[in-house]
Structure formats: C-alpha cells, structure tokens
Subunit: 145 residues, 2 copies
Amino acid sequence: MIYTVGEVAKQLDVAASTLRYYDKEGLLPFLERSGGGMRVFKDEDLSWLKIIECLKKTGMPIKEIKHFMDCCTEGDSTIDERLSIMELQRDAVIKQMTEMQEMLDMLNYKSWYYETAKKAGTCAIHDKIPIENVPEKYHKYLQNK
Amino acid sequence: MIYTVGEVAKQLDVAASTLRYYDKEGLLPFLERSGGGMRVFKDEDLSWLKIIECLKKTGMPIKEIKHFMDCCTEGDSTIDERLSIMELQRDAVIKQMTEMQEMLDMLNYKSWYYETAKKAGTCAIHDKIPIENVPEKYHKYLQNK
DNA sequence: GTACAACTTAAAGTTAACTTTAAGTCAATG
DNA sequence: CATTGACTTAAAGTTAACTTTAAGTTGTAC
C-alpha cells in the first residue's frame, strides 16, 4: 500500500503540514515522490515515522532527530553512534519517568489536601489536623514553619 | 528566613529572570516587597514555588497555573475547583507515564536492534535473524512487509 | 475533458516561555 | 559616604515547532 501525506497525517493523527515540515527539515530521507512531485509514503515508512514520533515524544529536538536519520542514511559505519543515541534517550526517559512519579505523588497529596478541605468546608482545617491523622506518605509535603 | 529573587533562583535551579517573569504573569500572588521595592521570598513561599514547578513540569501552561493561583487567592469558595484541577492533572500525568512506558519499550527494542547489529557489524543481520531468535517482547516492532 | 479536492512550494505568521537589554535603584561593605 | 553587586522595570529579542497563506499543480471522478 502507498499513501499520500494527508492519509498518513490522518493515520498518525498529526497535521499534514507537520509532516511536510519534517520533510523540509530532513527528517524523512526515505520519502519518495510520484512523477508529478507528490509525496509517496510506503508501509515501511510508517515504521520510520513511529521511531521519529518516539524520539519527539521523549523530548528530542528536531535537529537531533535529523542527525539520527542522517546516521541511518549513512549506513553501518554509524551503528555505534545510533546505539549510543538510543541508550542515552532510554536513560533520559527513565529519568523523566522518575520525575513524573514524584510529580504524581505531589498531585496525589494535593488531591487529598483538597478532598479533606472539601469535607470540612475550609482549607483552614489543615492547620488543625494533627500529624498522626495525615497519611504517612504525605508527611514530606507538610510545611515545617 | 527570607530570600532575594537571586537566592531563590539558585535554590530552585531556575533563572532569576524566570521568577520575575512568573511574577509578572501573576503566578506569585503571595510575593511581598521590601520598602525599596525588592521581592521578598519567605520560607513558606518555597512551597508555593514547588507546586508551581510541579504543575509546570507536568505540562500545565502558565495561564492555567495562574488560574489555579487565582483560585488559591480567592479562598474556600474555590476548593471544589482546585480539587478538580489536581485530579485532572493527576490523570493527565498517569496518561503521560503510560505513554512514556510505551516509548521506553520502543527505545529498549531499538537498543537491542543496534546492539545486535553492532555484534554482527551490519544492520543487514536483521533480515536474517529468524523470528524465534528475537525476544518475544520485541515481536510487535518487527515489520510485516 | 472539466471540475475539484488534495496536493505542491516559499515565505510569512503564530505561540509559549522565556531571555536579554538598557537605564536606573537598592543595600551591604569598607 | 562611595563603591559595587544584585536588584528594579519596560520593552524588545529569541527559539522551537509548527501553522497559515498564496499561488499554483496533480490526480481522480464524472
């Protein structure tokens, strides 16, 4: 199967203009054109778009993704570098997830805080709750004035 | 203890200009000033900065953070809304973490892919590896041409 | 073969979140 | 009380990642 830019955009839920922009920035070296100059996407190109999406979603800037794609085009001499790029990105994601978990913990505390305030009808309740009534996991968020 | 903008910037590892920008955008309604017009941060203000940081790191735009801070200033009549903001943000973070895990899985596959290519000296090895030698968890990334 | 929707390009515009600049003021030190 | 580093403001500048525009071309459906 082959697809136009609009069809691929719909499949991946991105704007067609975004795919054209990626092409202009050199992210899609695999892309071929029809006789009339239209972009022609093949099924295997969707795999490329998925790895690009993966790098983008994990925070890699367009220029670095281009560098990775340049390595892919260059061939086997860049295997080491590509492995290194993937490992570094994996480590970055693990770091991001660790931070996300910390943020989630804080949001859980804040949800508990406002649930408690809601039941009491006022945030002032939090000046009166004895520490032993605050779940242990939230102790680190309590202010030590 | 009280702190200047520069001291707080150093403590939280952000630029002082960023804190001034947040102030200008209305994110720091708790901030007081010295007689001479200098920003004065108190210890309890750091807790505010931490929740702002949490919302920011989980992708909330400045304008929405301002809205949350406006609610905080308004008082107990906004408890429901603040609870709702926290719960929605928590759900958003859970979604982000799920996606992150998928991205991590793909990066792990790609790392394996390039490790294998590195050992063989060529990416072409991947056309020759029988599917039973590909770890099960990576099967979903294999192209079905 | 003629509509017409979807494609093409280059160039300009948009948005968010800062960052920098310039000109001036504050506050701690010797 | 002068120096000096850190602060103040408003306004302009920066950057990334698109998005829109305008003018024109392609390809499919009737």
